[in-house]
Structure formats: C-alpha cells, structure tokens
C-alpha cells in the first residue's frame, strides 16, 4: 500500500473533487469537511513520501507498469518531495481559512468553488510530481483553467482581469507546447530522464536552441517575470480572498520549479550556463523585477495590490539567484521557494481577514486594527519582518544565501538590488504599522463617529494565520537541518 503513495497524492484530490458536486447537491454544508478531509489525507501522503525520499533516495513510479520511455513515470526526488509538502500544506491551510470568507464573498456557488479548488490543487500536485514533459503540459492546463475560473468570480472587474490572464496564460502554455514539440521532433522522446540522456549530443542544433528559448519565454509568462508580469496585479487583487490565498503562493513558485527542472535536469548545466548567455539575461531580468516590483509597490494605496507587487519582486530574487548559478545561490533559490510560499500565504491570508472585517481594500482600512485584532496583527508583524529579512525569521536566511552566492560570483548589482528591496519593504510595512497603531491622523475626522464594530477574526480564519506565523519562525530557526537534509541534495551538480 505504501508503494502506491505517489499516485495517491494525485488521485485523492481528484476523486474527492469529482464527488464534491454530488455531495454538495445533497447537503451543502458537508462540502467544507469533505475538502478538509481530502487535503489532510493528501498532506499525510506527501509528508510520508518526503520521509521516504530522505531515507532511500529518488522514487520512480511507473504508471500502468509500462517502463519509461514508452509509458509515463512519476519521479520524486528531494526538490519534488519538498514542493509536494509545500503545496499540500498550503492548500490545507487555505481550505480551513476559506469557510467564512466564501460565505461573505460568494453567495450561492460554494459547492462549485470547492470542486474547482480541489481540481486546482490536483493540477499543482500533478505538475511537480511528473517525469514526462507532455504530462506536465496537461496538468499545467488544468491549473490554468481552474485558475481562470477561481479568479473570475471575484469582485467587480474580476472577469476582465481573468480574461487578460487567459490571453497571456494561453500564449505561455502554447509556447511551452511548441518547445515540447521541437524537442520531440529532434529526439523522439518525451520522458525527462530519457531527454537528458539523448540531448547532450545535439546541443549545437538550432532546433534545441529554439526549444530552450520557447520554454523560457513560456514559463516566464506563467511566472510573472518582469516585463511579462502585467496580468498578475489585476488578477490577484480582484479575485476572492480564498482564491488569491491559494493561487498567489503557489502558481508562480511552481513555474520557478518547472524552470529549474528544464534548465538543470532536461538540459544539463553545460548548455544552460556555459553555452548560452541565458544566465546573464536572467540576472538582469531579476534585478529589473526586484526594482520594478519595489517601486510599483510604493505607489499603491490598495494593500492587496501592494502585496501583488511584492510577489513580483520575490520572483525577481529567484530568477536572479538561478542566473548567478553557483551552488550557494541555488540553495538560496530553493530555500526561497519554501519561504516565499509561506510568506505570500501569510500576506494574502491577512489581507483576506482585513477585507472580511472592514470590507475595504485601502491602506487606511488598517486604522486602529492593532487594538481591535491583536492576534492577527501580531502574526502580520512576524510575516512583515520575514519579508523585510530580519533574523531569526525564515526570510533572512534565504536572502543570506542569495547575497552570499552573489558575492562569490562578483555580482554586486544583484546584492545592491536585494538590499534596496529590503529597505523599500521596511518603508512599505512600517507605513502599515503606522496606520494600524493609529499614530497618523487621517483627514476628514469631523463627520460623526460611525465606527464599524470590528472584532477579532473568526477562529477558522485566525488559526491558519497563526500557524503560518509559527511556521515562519520555526523554518527560520530550523533552517540548517532543512538545508542539510533536503535542499542540499536538490541542488544540481554544477
């Protein structure tokens, strides 16, 4: 039974997603426990698989018993297993959090929302666990379709934001498919391990170079790398709180994972780093993303949009770190995938709680919240310190690895960009703290004290926030064991 856990990780959310509409039409309030049960089982399976990978090494699972490359296989190594745990834990926390916020934002379609929620999680898990290039495209499209739907049921202006995301996302997926097609025409194989064996002799061929270029541009669109990030702020701001709390931490980091797989497992580092000038381009794009994200975040008065631009800057860290391409920097990138998922989850969860209580998106809606919602704001302070990069929160350690890697590679522009980003994050978050503590006088005080009665957040929304804040502290304190046992083996041999 435990041998089948790799496929159970995919099958459990998919099966439960198919049964959810039937269950919901019978009794609507059974959907919430059903979703939590499915994601809890999935999380247990993925933690077990992570333990097995740490003990015995890479797991290969042949679907249907057919040996690759004729059949499809699931390959779980250290990087995969870590991503599986990240995805299932984040999804479980968001599912617990989503009950109250969905009751307020969506009127009647909660059943279908939960179905698409589970399908989106299936898509995410399917992308990271597979060992076949075309299979990755199928699950990428599952993720994309469910993402479009989850975003389109948000507030006013959400369908148009989702439509823009459809156009750009389809271009990205089609470029990825063209890349797979060119590789197939040149080698005849679709399996990742088989391609990495067949490709090195063909590195001078024009077909392979064009395939690499199309993979990179397609994944850059999905990753919201500057300047292809224009779909992200509108889409994540106008989506419902539960949808943005699920999609924002995960989608872009999974695209970073796919980029790491393509650059270092399918194409060996000798092509990605030595032969092509891709890494220099990546460092400059990373620096541009960090600076642009920071500057645009400063200009926002809507805090959810500000968080979206912080996400764009964080992607810049990861792409620049991959561009530096020594083993310290890539350790930093993988650790930052873990950290950024938790920090972004924290940001959007707090944004959802503030929206639930105050029905507003503006920075001024944070007024006096430190007195009225002490626990939520305490968690928010921890999350903000982690994004700024203060020890012992986890954000400090991944920034430290990235800065170390940049210094070793003599890339001073990247170090400067990272430090600038920390400074701007300090300004951004202390602005919120200032409003929240009531230090600043807002204009228009005279017209009657109609105070909305704001109390502490409901339990189902508060507990995931506190778990996220605790997680940030724990991962920061225990980051050495995580790096030594898991991440060190996930770094490709450079």
């Amino acid at each position: 039974m435990t041998d089948q856990f790799p496929i159970l990780i995919i099958i459990i959310p998919l099966l439960f997603a198919v049964i959810t509409p039937l269950l919901g039409l019978w009794r609507e309030n059974l959907c919430y426990p059903w979703v939590i049960l499915s994601l809890a089982l999935c999380m247990l399976c993925s933690i077990f698989v992570l333990g097995r990978v740490i003990d015995t090494g890479v797991i290969h699972y042949y679907l249907g018993g057919w040996a690759p490359p004729w059949g499809i296989e699931l390959v779980i190594d250290h990087l995969n297993a870590l991503m599986l745990v990240i995805i299932s834990t984040t999804a479980l926390l968001v599912a617990v959090y989503s009950k109250r916020s969905l009751e307020q934002e969506l009127d009647s379609s909660i059943v279908y929302f939960y179905t698409i929620f589970l399908l989106q999680v299936t898509g995410f898990l399917g992308i990271v666990i597979t060992g076949d290039m075309f299979n990755l495209y199928v699950f990428l499209e599952i993720t994309a379709l469910t993402g479009y739907a989850l975003i389109a049921v948000g507030e006013d202006g959400a369908p148009f934001a989702s439509f823009r995301y459809i156009i750009m996302g389809t271009v990205g997926a089609c470029f990825y498919l063209l890349g797979v097609g060119y590789l197939y025409i040149a080698t005849g194989s679709l399996n990742i391990a088989d391609l990495s064996r067949l490709l090195p002799e063909l590195y001078g061929s024009k077909v392979i170079l064009v395939a690499f270029a199309f993979f990179f541009v397609g994944i850059a669109i999905k990753m919201a790398l500057f300047p292809l990030h224009v779909w992200l702020p509108d889409a994540y701001t106008k989506a419902p709180s539960a949808a943005s709390a699920l999609i924002a931490p995960l989608m872009t980091k999974i695209a970073v994972y796919v980029m790491l797989r393509i650059m270092f497992t399918v194409f060996k580092p000798s092509l990605s780093i030595d032969m092509l000038p891709v890494t220099d381009i990546m460092i400059w794009l990373g620096i541009a993303a960090i600076v642009a994200g920071a500057v645009m975040a400063l200009a926002q008065t809507d805090f959810k949009r500000m968080f979206c631009y912080i996400v764009v800057a964080e992607i810049g860290y990861m792409v620049g770190g991959t561009g530096i391409a020594n083993s310290v920097a890539i350790k930093g990138v993988i650790l930052h995938i873990l950290n950024d998922a938790i920090m972004t989850l924290g940001m959007f969860v707090v944004a959802g709680i503030v929206y639930y209580q105050t029905k507003g998106h503006n920075l001024t809606d944070f007024k006096d919240l430190f007195k009225k919602m002490p626990y939520t704001m305490a968690a928010f302070v921890v999350i903000a310190l982690s994004i700024i990069g203060v020890p012992p929160t986890c954000g400090f350690f991944s920034k430290w690895y990235l800065i170390q890697g940049a210094i070793i590679a003599d890339c001073w522009a990247f170090v400067a960009a990272l430090l600038l980003s920390s400074l701007i994050n300090i300004i951004l978050f202390f602005r919120i703290f200032e409003i929240g503590y009531g230090f600043s006088e807002t204009h228009g005080h005279g017209n009657g004290h109609e105070e909305v009665l704001i109390s502490e957040a409901p339990m189902s929304m508060l507990i995931p926030t506190i778990i996220t804040a605790l997680g940030i502290m724990l991962i920061g304190i225990y980051n050495q064991p995580i790096v030594n046992n898991i991440i060190q083996f996930a770094v490709p041999k450079l």
Binding site: Y148, I167, V171, L178, I185
Partner: protein, 130 residues
C-alpha cells in the same frame, strides 16, 4: 535548394498560420477577435505536430491490418515503416481537448463581461472600470 524547400515547407506554412493567430490574439481590441486568434494559434500548433507524423513511401494509418479475431497473434510480421508514427496523433488528441476546454471557459468569461458592461471592446471596458 528546391529539395530544401520541399523538405521543410509544411513547417513554414503552419508557422505562418501560427503567427496570424498570434497577431490576432495580441493585436486586436475586440474580445471575440482575440478568442478567434487564440483558436487559430492553438489549431495551427496541432496541425504542425500532426504533420510530423507522416512517413513517405506508402505508409498507411496506424491500424494493424488483419489483427481482429486472431487472438493476440497477427499472422504476418509488422513492419514499422509501413505505418505512420502514432505518437503525435495521441498527443494532439489531448491538445485538441485542452483547446476546446480553454475556448469554453474563455467564452463563458466573455458572456459574464458582456452582461456587466454591455460592450465587447477592450478600450470601452477599461474606461468603464476606471
């Protein structure tokens, strides 16, 4: 030179079709025209792949002849070069399904946009949102 063009012209025709669809997707201002461009782009990718499956020299469809009713044995030897390559067809069946699904969701979102703004031009919608 002529051999070179005859060897590659199928790829070039489909790439030109792809670029027509791509230009419609990013260049047009009407939402339905963008969706039509998306369909042209994805359909031409599918045709591009399927065209690589062909084998010259009298190859036929990949359905093994005289295989029914013989249990699991076929009377004659099966030669791979007399049947065209089945794998691109398989991949493109899945890609067609994905294309139709994306088209469906995109049209549903356009219906929702039309119900709200009563127009399908991108600039008018942007003005209405501001």
């Amino acid at each position: 030179m002529l051999d070179f063009i005859i060897g590659k012209y199928n790829y070039w025709i489909y790439i030109i079709l792809m670029m027509i669809g791509f230009y419609a997707m990013i260049g047009k201002r009407n939402l339905v025209k963008k969706i039509i461009g998306m369909t042209i782009f994805q359909t031409s990718i599918i045709l591009f792949f399927v065209s690589t499956a062909y084998k010259k020299g009298g190859a036929t469809l990949p359905i093994i002849e005289h295989a029914h009713g013989h249990g699991e044995h076929v009377g004659h030897a099966i030669e791979a070069s007399s049947y065209i390559n089945p794998l691109p067809h398989v991949l493109m069946l899945t890609a067609i399904v994905v294309m139709v699904a994306t088209l469906g969701v995109a049209l549903a979102i356009v219906i929702k946009i039309y119900r709200r703004y009563n127009t399908l031009e991108e600039d008018e919608i942007l003005k209405a949102i501001k």
